[in-house]
Structure formats: structure tokens, C-alpha cells
Amino acid sequence: MNYLHSIGEYFLMLKGTFHRMTKGSVLRGLILKELDDLIIGSMGIVSFLSFFIGAVVALQTALNLNNPLIPKSLVAFAARQSIILEFAPTFISIIMAGKVGSYITSSIGSMNVTEQIDALEVMGINSLNYLVFPKIVAMMFYPFVIAISMFLGILGAYTAAVFGGFVAPDLFVQGLQDDFVPFQLVYAFIKTFLFAFILATVPAYHGYYMKGGALEVGEASTTAFVWTSVVIIITNYIVTQLLLS
């Protein structure tokens, strides 16, 4: 019953978000700020993680490839597939649920408990639009983050495989091109878009509708992380089932 109530409330929040728009010039400033916080601010950690995850994936594949009948180019092939299909879009999004998600929940939540949201409403501003809409717009640039993550992941794999002396450079490049299905990229970016939307809205929901004080803001952030991850994982399963099987 409670879950149903929350789900209903979540969709009502979405409806309220795209309603009674805030003044354009103000909104533009808010979107730029969110772009800086949510997208630019995530680049560092995403780049770092992607490079080393790519490297470890290549390393593990190389170390476990003992059969001389299997070509070494498989290292590149395996790295490409796992990075493009899952590591970059899904795994990085779970990390972002912690970084971006807790930032969104705590910033909206603290505005909630200190009556800043009431102050917006008194001024006749649709606080949902003011707070949530710019975050959704900013997160529509999230696929760029994931594109960079894919690139750096494969670069990491190349570094580990080639400079580690496991695979020759030309073999690695050939492996990268083996059996490439362009639709898999489309699939990866479709789900990235969905994850971006989830990353912006589920934590916003938890911040906007929480009640209490500073302590509850912290609790809401934790709950938001758990639920954002759960929703991302379930969405991932459904999208994969629908698009790839």
C-alpha cells in the first residue's frame, strides 16, 4: 500500500515538474548551475573509475586466457562488450546514484526542512519546476559522460593489455572491431537516457517529500541511494529483455 502511494506521488511530482514554468532567464541560470554540479562535477571520478575498470577487465581476461586456440584479440572483444553494454552505462550509473543522487536529495531536502521551498511557493513559484526541472535538463547531458566513460574504459583496457605485454597492438585493434553490432551502442545509449532521468528524479522525490530535520535529510539521502540503484537495476533488466532478446 505504502509503495503504491509513493509511486503515485512520484508520478504526480513529475506532472507538477513540467507545469507552470519558471521565468526563462532564471531557469537558464539554474540549468547552467546544475550542468556544472551534476555533469562537469562528475567527470573526474567517472574518468578515473572507467579507465581502471577497463584496465582490470582486460587484465582479468588476459590472465584467464590460457588456451592457445583462442585468439588473443578476444581480450579486446571482451573488454569492448562488457564496457559498452554494462560497465559504462549501468555500473557508472550506480556510482552516480551515490554521488549525484545524494547531492540532489540532500540539497532539496535541506531546502525542504529550512522552509526554503515554502518561501518559493509564497513567491508564486512552482517549486517542483524550479528545483527538479533544471536537474532533469542537465542530466540529459549525462550520455556524454557515459560516452567518455566508454572511451576511457577501452583506453584503459588497451593500456593494460598492450603495455602489459598480453596482446599486440594490431591484434587488440582488430579485436575491438570483431563482430561489432552498432545497435548495441544504440541500446546502451537508450538505457543511459533512462538512467539519467531516474538519477535526476528519484533522488529529487526523496528530497522533496521528506519530513523532519537535518537528521532525516541524511536518512533520505541513504534511502534515495538504495531506491535509485534498485530502480536502475530493474530498468536495466527490462530494457535488456525488450531490446536485445
Binding site: S25, Q116, D118
Partner: protein, 255 residues
């Protein structure tokens, strides 16, 4: 003028406001007093449309709030200034940006220069010139309160709501703020509603007073009446401090 008629509001089945009737006059400082938890803030938030009452009518200059269209509500919000109990400053903005915010929201076209001038002017009125570029977290609680007042009046509202505007201020600053609010009320000819705990404020600016007790309007009058009434619920509250008890005793003995 704001009129409240038979207002009821509860949370989770528990009634907080139990049928309030009161008229807040224009060009007067209307005070709401009463113990902590008596429902003062809830009453204010009902009037502002932040809470929807279960029953009752709130009229802005004769027109029921429930009948306002979306456009009229927007128009009304341009004319409302609110000082929240905790200040409610936007903590991602500087003092100047906070005070500028309502102007930016409501002025059409590019009036940046006029707007900034107006911000300087109101900041000066609350004795805060020089703090423009500070963040709310960098100034004291009392200063935050005053920034909040500046933000509420910057738009020259028709209705000014203040939830304990001078709590947490030293007596001198509190008096300055009281006088400022009273001045503005007369200068702009507006309806001002102030929640307060402070008996000094009652003495200074209590032009009309509503006394709430457990969600009921227990007494109404003005500052000249409140210290004379024999109504026990009022005297209990007004003379709860020892100092005022002594004053009362002296009064009764005709000193």
C-alpha cells in the same frame, strides 16, 4: 485587510486550528500571540495558501482565496512578503541575490540597475549595508533574520507576514525591527501580520492582537487592553515572566 472565517486545520486527524475568526486590518500591525504549539504558524501558512484548511474561508480584501484563479493567485503572490520563522534564506545565494530574488522573479524586462538600487536601499533600512556579497551561512542568525525581512519588503508588498521577526535578536535590534515593520506598514499602507512571543513587541506595535490558545482564538484586543484585561488565560500568558508579574503587582497596587 485579510479576514479569516471559521478556519479549521488539522494534521493526521488531530485538530490544530479549531474555528478561528479574525479580521486583520489594513494599515495596522496585527499581532498573533500565544504559546508555542498553539497553532500560530499553521494559521499563517493557511492564510498564505501553503496549507489547505479543511474548513473555513480566507478573504483577501473581500475575495475568498479559494475562488482565486491561477492568474489571480500569481498576482497575489507578487503582493505578499513573508518572513519565515527560521529565515528561509536561499543558502546557495548571496545576501544580495536573496533580496534581489523576488524582484528578478516579478519584474519584466531588464531592470537590473533599478533592481540593484532597490536592494541596496532595503538592505540599508535593515542596517545591513556592506554584507551584499556574504553567503547566509557567513552571517549571524540575527542578520539572517534581517535579510529575510529585506527580502520580504523589497517588492513593496500589500500584505506582509512575519513569523517571529525578532526572535533571536538582541533587545535593541528587536526594537529597531519592530519599528521598521510598523513604519513600513504605515508608509506602504499595507496589512501586516506578525507572530510574536515578545511582550516588548506587544507593547510597542500591538495595534491589534489575536491571542491563540490550543487552536482557539482565546482573546482579541489591542496593546492598551491586553495589560488591563482580567481574562485569566491572557494574564496567565502575559504575566508568565517574573518581571511582568512585578509590573502587574505594582499596577494593581496603583503604583
Amino acid at each position: 485587510m485579510i479576514e479569516v472565517k471559521d478556519l479549521h486545520k488539522g494534521f493526521n486527524g488531530e485538530e490544530v486550528l479549531k474555528g478561528i475568526n479574525f479580521t486583520f486590518d489594513r494599515s495596522k500591525t496585527n499581532l498573533i500571540i500565544g504559546q508555542s504549539g498553539s497553532g500560530k504558524s499553521v494559521l499563517l501558512k493557511c492564510m498564505l495558501g501553503l496549507f489547505t484548511p479543511e474548513k473555513g474561508i480566507i478573504e483577501y480584501d473581500g475575495k475568498p482565496y479559494a475562488e482565486f484563479t491561477d492568474d489571480e493567485k500569481k498576482d497575489l503572490s507578487k503582493n505578499i512578503g513573508m518572513v519565515f520563522q527560521g529565515g528561509a534564506l536561499f543558502d546557495s545565494m548571496t545576501v544580495e541575490e536573496n533580496v534581489l530574488f523576488p524582484l528578478r522573479m516579478f519584474t519584466k524586462g531588464n531592470k537590473k540597475k533599478e533592481n540593484l538600487e532597490r536592494v541596496r536601499e532595503v538592505l540599508k533600512r535593515v542596517n545591513l549595508d556592506g554584507t551584499e556579497d556574504k553567503m547566509p551561512s557567513e552571517i549571524s542568525g540575527g542578520m539572517q533574520k534581517r535579510v529575510s525581512i529585506a527580502r520580504a519588503i523589497v517588492n513593496r508588498p500589500k500584505y506582509l507576514f512575519c513569523d517571529e521577526p525578532n526572535s533571536g535578536l538582541d533587545p535593541k535590534t528587536a526594537t529597531v525591527i519592530d519599528n521598521l515593520i510598523q513604519e513600513i506598514t504605515h508608509e506602504y499602507d499595507i496589512t501586516t501580520i506578525i507572530i510574536t512571543h515578545d511582550m516588548n513587541s506587544v507593547l510597542e506595535i500591538g495595534q491589534k492582537i489575536a491571542f491563540l490558545k490550543d487552536g482557539v482564538l482565546a482573546w482579541k484586543g489591542d496593546k492598551s487592553q491586553i495589560f488591563k484585561t482580567d481574562d485569566e488565560t491572557v494574564t496567565d500568558f502575559v504575566y508568565s515572566s517574573d518581571l511582568f508579574k512585578k509590573v502587574r503587582k505594582a499596577q494593581l497596587q496603583g503604583l
